[in-house]
């Protein structure tokens, strides 16, 4: 291997190590609880998908800022996506909702306020209708 190639390979290894170490570390906030701490959630919320509908628990979803909540999503027909969005449209997190499986994710909301839920996976031509405004109320 040529000297210049060895230097370049070293640069590639350094970038690989740096990016992966940083992004797997708690510097990405949710990696703290998804990869490392694995805390027991204080609350569990079940969300059901089917026939282009998103069914929330009766009474809606209320969570406290700073507490861990586990979302358990199921689908009765096709694949959907559970996406949580801020009111300005920016995504907080999302996961795929695969039929025949219980799809789980733990999250901690830091900011109080109202959040929308939108299906993030195409499920047929009526997919854009799958939107629930103010689905989650996060209290201080």
């Amino acid at each position: 291997m040529d000297r210049q190639e060895r230097i370049w390979l070293g640069v590639l290894v350094a970038v690989f190590a740096l990016v992966n170490v940083i992004t797997l570390s708690p510097l990405v906030p949710w990696q703290q609880w998804i990869l490392w701490d694995r805390p027991t959630p204080q609350q569990q919320v079940r969300v059901e998908f089917g026939d282009y509908q998103i069914r929330l628990p009766s009474g809606g979803i209320q969570v406290k800022a700073g507490e861990f909540v586990e979302f358990v999503a199921t689908s009765q027909d096709v694949t959907y996506g559970l996406g949580v969005f801020r009111k300005d449209g920016r995504m907080v997190f999302q996961m795929q909702v695969v039929p025949g499986h219980e799809n789980r994710i733990v999250w901690r909301f830091d900011q109080p306020g109202a959040y929308d839920i939108r299906s993030t996976e195409y499920s047929g031509p009526r997919h854009p209708e799958m939107f629930v405004p103010d689905a989650i109320q996060v209290t201080p």
Binding site: L24, Q31, T79, G81, F85, Q94, M95, T120, G124, P128
Partner: protein
């Protein structure tokens, strides 16, 4: 002009027609998203000839088009270009004929027919399950019309069988050079997966075995043969998925619908992505690398830098491409975490090394050949390298267990990553090949330098503008495959992206005008329509 040269130009002409079709669809979709009412009259006219039991909604029309848009782009434009170019270049470089000449016209017609059938199923039959075909959506006939599903799967099967025939022809042509004796299926397989090369490394070389890394083979040919392994795996996997959908479709047609839940959606998704990624992360990268390795030394007049490393990279990339599929399942929390971490993130970063070394070898070859004249093909190759750097970098950012939670299924994924790779990276490369091959095949120089520069700059600026601005929208939460109600919160991004699409269209038109001016109308038509007294193309 010889027989194979003529077929190569035929493949190129039809490939460009498919690019025009997929580009036209792209502009229609961009327009629909930016100004939903603008196409109402056009849609009404098309609805008059559509097979549907009801007036299709704008969403059904959009998703039908979105489903076939990548099929026409990838299997129409890209594969037709590749088939035409490789059928000329492989025998040219090996100084021998294609092993099975009868397959060449068969490949041409099957690919054209298969792509057209898929296109008709989506554009007119409203098959709308999108190319991802996530189970059980393609067999949910309350959402996806059966009348579109069956022809789509038949069309896809024709394409996949045709790709298997093409790969077989290419591979057997290459291997018959490295070892002209007859060889068994297992020897064929050993060569395909690089076992012969590995044994050579270990000092146990079998000189009678066909070897993909035979020293007499040009690097480009090794890359083509190696990439064809991914192509074969991709075709087989997609054939099985298509067959499954077809069985469910026929059962429903005969009034005996099958239970979609009998197939595990997660297992299917893993199988599907494992196969599909052989194209996205396998043959696209390695075919691209092969073309850079071929054209750059030819254009700058210098031997390829670091050839021994490059040969190793070509073989290692096969292992990488076999293990990266989970980066499409990073949003699936039911996918085991170790698979998301290992396959989805760490092995995917293997492409950072293979493509990093490939791009380094390519750029160093140019650098060490200074002073270099920037010819048209070289200009487009530099553009394609730029596209692969930007699109590949965007891909590595999203192939991350943490970051994917906020990037999955956003415009970032499909535009900044996928479309930058396809439009700025792959398309520019295919344009470079056409610019390089036309003078070789016809003896005519490309007519207008001004039009090639217009093509380059309009296409580059347009594609980067469109993909970058939509990536920005994605980082603000804009989803792919989503129709937002008016007022659309991402309207500004959509408007700018539309301008980018129009700039690309202008660039493409400049290219077509230049090509027709170079070849002449009569010659171009003569490639498609057989005449009693053909007009010679190589009259220049």
């Amino acid at each position: 002009m010889g027989w194979i040269e003529k077929w190569t130009l035929r493949f190129a002409v039809v490939a460009l027609i498919f690019l025009a079709m997929t580009g036209f669809e792209g502009v229609l979709m961009r327009t629909h998203m930016a100004a939903p009412e603008a196409l109402a009259g056009f849609e009404q006219a098309l609805n008059a000839v559509r097979i549907a039991d009801h007036e299709p909604t704008p969403a059904e029309l959009l998703y039908g088009m979105m489903t076939v848009h990548p099929i026409v782009g990838v299997y129409g434009f890209a594969y037709m270009s590749v088939m035409g170019a490789f059928y000329f270049l492989v025998p040219y470089l090996l100084k021998k004929e294609i092993r099975h000449k009868k397959l060449v016209p068969l490949n041409f017609w099957l690919q054209t027919g298969g792509v057209l059938l898929c296109w008709l199923s989506g554009f007119f039959g409203l098959f709308n399950s999108l190319y991802t075909l996530y189970w059980p959506l393609p067999v949910s006939f309350d959402r996806v019309p059966l009348v579109g599903t069956i022809p789509f799967t038949v069309g896809a099967a024709v394409i996949m069988v045709n790709i298997l025939l093409f790969s077989f022809n290419t591979f057997s042509t290459v291997l018959s050079k490295s070892n002209p004796q007859s060889y068994s299926f297992w020897q064929f397989l050993r060569a395909a997966f690089g076992i012969s090369r590995l044994m050579k490394w270990l000092g146990k070389e079998d000189k009678n075995a066909p070897n993909l890394d035979y020293n007499g083979l040009p690097v480009f040919v090794v890359a083509v043969a190696r990439g064809s392994i991914d192509t074969v795996i991709n075709a087989i996997v997609l054939l099985t998925a298509g067959a499954l959908i077809l069985v469910y479709g026929l059962a429903a047609l005969l009034g005996h619908p099958l239970n979609p839940m009998a197939v595990d959606a997660l297992v299917y998704k893993n199988w599907f992505w494992w196969g599909l990624d052989m194209v996205a992360d396998g043959n696209v990268l390695i075919y691209t690398a092969g073309v850079w390795y071929l054209l750059i030394p030819l254009l700058v007049g210098r031997r390829l830098f670091g050839e021994s490393v490059v040969r190793t990279v070509i073989m290692v990339d096969l292992l990488v491409s076999l293990g990266v599929w989970s980066h499409h399942l990073l949003g699936d929390q039911v996918q085991p975490l170790w698979m998301r971490l290992l396959s989805g993130q760490i092995i995917t970063w293997g492409e950072f090394f293979t493509m990093g070394l490939t791009i380094f070898a390519s750029l160093m070859t140019i650098w060490k050949a200074r002073p270099v004249k920037i010819t048209t093909p070289l200009l487009f190759i530099l553009g394609s390298i730029f596209g692969f750097i930007i699109g590949g970098g965007a891909g590595l950012i999203q192939a991350n267990v943490g970051l994917n939670l906020i990037l999955h299924n956003t415009q970032w994924v499909i535009m900044t990553h996928a479309h930058t790779l396809l439009l700025t990276g792959l398309s520019m490369l295919l344009f470079a090949v056409i610019y390089a091959l036309v003078p070789m095949l016809t003896g005519r120089e490309i007519r207008s330098r001004a039009l090639t520069l217009a093509h380059f700059w309009f296409w580059t600026v347009g594609s980067v503008l469109m993909t970058y601005v939509m990536g920005m929208a994605g980082s603000q939460g804009m989803l792919r495959r989503m129709l937002y109600p008016q007022p659309n919160p991402y309207q500004v991004y959509l408007n700018v992206a539309w301008v980018g699409g129009i700039l690309m269209t202008i660039g493409f038109l400049a290219f077509l005008v230049n090509l027709v001016a170079t070849l002449g109308w009569e010659s171009v038509l003569g490639l498609v329509i057989e005449r009693k007294h053909p007009v010679p193309v190589a009259a220049g």
